[in-house]
């Protein structure tokens, strides 16, 4: 479930920017340019974000970390919820 919260939130944010932003551009000679810029910014930023997010969604490899660093992680970030492995 927690997967969906960032996915929806960030997507909604960029959707809001990309679709809503152009509506608030004041009239003027540069209106078209500014609208194009806002839409493209939203598209590019969202594309890049979602690529990175999806890549981490189902990791196929785990990080290989020196024992001392694991100790540090154990102290600072805590242990996993499941049963711990002995080695």
């Amino acid at each position: 479930m927690t997967v969906w919260i960032p996915l929806v939130a960030v997507t909604a944010f960029w959707l809001l920017v990309g679709a809503g932003g152009p509506l608030f551009v004041p009239a003027g000679p540069n209106k078209g340019i500014i609208q194009t810029m806002i839409v493209l910014t939203a598209v590019c930023c969202h594309l890049f974000w979602i690529v990175v997010y999806l890549h981490q969604l189902n990791p196929l490899i785990g990080p290989q970390i020196p024992v001392r660093t694991i100790m540090w992680i154990h102290e600072k970030w805590g242990d996993a919820a499941g049963p711990l492995v002995s080695d």
């Binding site: 927690t2 997967v3 919260i5 960032p6 939130a9 960030v10 540069n30 078209g32 340019i33 194009t36 810029m37 493209l40 910014t41 590019c44 930023c45 594309l47 890049f48 974000w49 690529v51 990175v52 997010y53 999806l54 890549h55 981490q56 969604l57 189902n58 990791p59 196929l60 490899i61 785990g62 990080p63 290989q64 970390i65 020196p66 024992v67 001392r68 660093t69 694991i70 100790m71 992680i73 154990h74 970030w77 805590g78 242990d79 996993a80 919820a81 499941g82 049963p83 711990l84 492995v85 002995s86 080695d87």
Partner: protein, 967 residues
Amino acid sequence: MDAIHRSEEISLAQIYLQNEAAYNCVAEMGELGLVQFRDLNADVSPFQRKYVAEIRRCDEMERKLRYLEREIKRDDIPILDTGESPEAPQPREMSDLEATFEKLEHELREVNQNEEMLKKNFVELTELKHILRKTQTFFEEGDAESQVFSELDMTDHAEPTSQLMAAFRYVFTTDSKNSTETERQALDSLNAEESPSHDNARLIQDRGDGTNAKAHLKFVAGIIQRDHLVGFDRLLWHACRGNVFLRQAEITESLSDASGNTVNKVVFIIFFQGDQLKSRVKKICEAYHATLYPCPDTPQERREMSIGVMTRIEDLKTVLGQTQDHRHRVLVAAAKNVRLWMAKVRKIKSIYYTLNMCNVDLTQKCLVAEVWFPKLEEDRIRISLKRGSDESGSTVAPIFHVMQNVKEKHPTYNRTNKFTRSFQNIVDAYGIASYREINPAPYTIITFPFLFAIMFGDFGHGTIMMLFGLFLILREKQLEAARIRDDIFQTFFGGRYVIFLMGCFSIYTGIIYNDAFSKSFNLFGSAWSNSINEKTLHDLISSGGEKILTLEPNVSYDGSPYPIGVDPIWNLADTNKLNFLNSMKMKASVLIGISQMTFGLGLSYYNHKFFQSRLDIIYVFIPQMLFLTSIFIYLCFQIVVKWIAYDYAGGYTKFGYYYPGAGCAPALLIGLINMFMMKDREKGFVVDNTQGSHEYLGACHTNFWYPGQSFFETIFLLIALACIPVMLFAKPYFLWKENQMRTANGHAQLKTVELILLLIALTMIPIMLFVKPLLLRRAHKRRNLARPASREELLSILTDEDSSVRADVNEDDAQVYHYEDTSDKPAGHGHGHGEEFNFGDIMVYQAIHTIEFALGCISHTASYLRLWALSLAHAQLSDVLWSMVFRHAFELDGYVGAIATFVLFFIFAFLTLAILVLMEGLSAFLHALRLHWVEFQSKFYAGDGYVFNPFSFEKILEDARNTEDTQ
């Protein structure tokens, strides 16, 4: 939409200008700066044009003004430059200006001439003054010595004023035997005494009559440059066989010559005997540019002369001062106006230059100009023309006639502001857009900094770059006013908005990469945690603690990824961080690259649509789109499906196949190659496709991973989206259906689907290659059949809007002029073909275009991998810089640590700026440039237009100013 994405509509118009109003009208056009005059006299040499005389006069005025400016600069008088643009003066004012400049120049030249004369006089008099002073000392020394000698010799012949006489007599008396040996001895002894006056003895070879010698001995005095003296001395000695005596004295103060340079000079006096020697000495003096001055013999005369010279010098000084004052006054007055005058003269000149481009009408009463102008500005142009003719008092208003159906290539005019200009320049540097073609600049504003940022992504470096850009933008006014003429600075300053945006996007991608100077933030709490129990950890640490352990995803990973950006855990994974990031960046590059290419291809559709070329839409755009879709968009789709569908643990059935775990996640790159090679593979991952089985079926990650049925739906959707015309998609559809009938087992279908996709891609190539040229040929044949008869042709010439009557400037005959179709628009746009139909050309063009596209799709996709390569290089470099340089500071404790931190910080900061921000930034910039020019623009951009270059005073003056500055 068209307003910002295409260049403006341009029309061609003829303007009939009354002779007397022409000047004013053109001046108004120059102030407006919106029309481009066409040169209607391109075949007339510049010297035969109508307003040659006026242009010459302007050149002459310009020359005078430049002379004036040079003189002003020489005197270091500040030139008033308000930068304002004066109204173009009326033609009648030209002679006033001319008279003013003539007067000024004349005055200045006269003053300069006088000054030069006076200075020359002054120099001469100063030299004379020095000669008199120095010779005075010679003669006085001589007096003193002669007294000594007279005592020695006990003779009373000694001339009291001449030291020479004394020396002469001395030698004469000691050398009574006329033998050379004794002479030499005497000379040596004299030399040994080192008294310059004793050198005189050498002179006297002719020692015949000592008493006569006094009477014949003469001297000349003069002045010579110090560096010439050695040669002069030697030549004098050789040429006169030692019969002259030279004395010299250096003038300690340095004199200035007539042109104002300082030179060191030496006063000399030469004694000799006889007229023959005199002429010889004089010739030598001449040859060495030594100036001789009259020097009286007696001390009284010399004294009087000296006094005379002094008074004259004083007089000269006052006159010289007055002259310089006058010159200064003239120049100061001129300095206030010289810029204004220059602007005026340049305006007049450009007006006449433009008028020279116009045609003279048959009646000689009016001029005909042809202008390109933006259609939207027609009203403003008309009003300006009206104002121009009113100013000149002409009764007849100029006629402004817009021409229809102009087939000639129109200029491309993209309106820019200071923000969009730099992006437009990036696009224009590749090629000016064809007329009314889609202008990629508005998209480039965002996509360029975005692609740059993917390669440059680092929060810290991006911040530095953004702040630098922001500084340039905020200080815009001051920096512009400073007029810094440094090339590198100008480049950065011109691209300040690009730099700013690149910085902003780099900050964003830096956050996504979770990289700030190669360090990560843990803002949201990592999705990973420790999975090793504490006891094991303690044991391992106590036994050395060098071991590296893997945190298995099934235990350590909590199921929902780090919300924004890369999880900070990967920054701690020394050994396999790159494995993870490379895979991510590679996939991101492919996805972003293919998105951009598809976007470019989409733009080509709007181009074809705009130019109403159905042929291009159906037979070029659609096959291209299909080609891209069937291979590359399919690849993107696979990437996304793999991300979502397959996880580490496995143990579930996906797409009808049992998936046992991470080892069997499909390898897409190998899959792509296999797709190309149509290689037969196993279906599914495990033997018999049974639940819970761990017996892998061959190399399970290269096997087929989903049945054809689901894939068919995907393809159907993609094909539908790409709007394949029935003709094209019917064939693959029936092929596929036939195949489905044959194979009852659904599992066998994947191979067929990929085969079909490949077939589609391959069939696209001949379609792209042949269909359009063939259709074009058919259309051409049809047109030939329906050709009008020759009589109708003649009629059509007379009624044709495309021709106009033009008169020659010098001759009285007129001709009907046809606008020949000079445009060589590529066949790709399906219009603009002339009467001559060249099947070969179109075929070659189409072949190149097709091959370029088909190969390009592959090579361009590979080319987008530079996004990955550069971002990898950037991240690695910044990582290395941190761990090799700055981190060492933290390994030390106490005072040493503090000092090391201080010192290493500066090294780290310098290297970060120089290598990571500047050099890496430059290389990322170049790669982003290439991706836009080649990979993006090649999909839709023809770029064979020419730029709209309106006649504008503002631009002319600005250009002139810039060339002046660079000189």
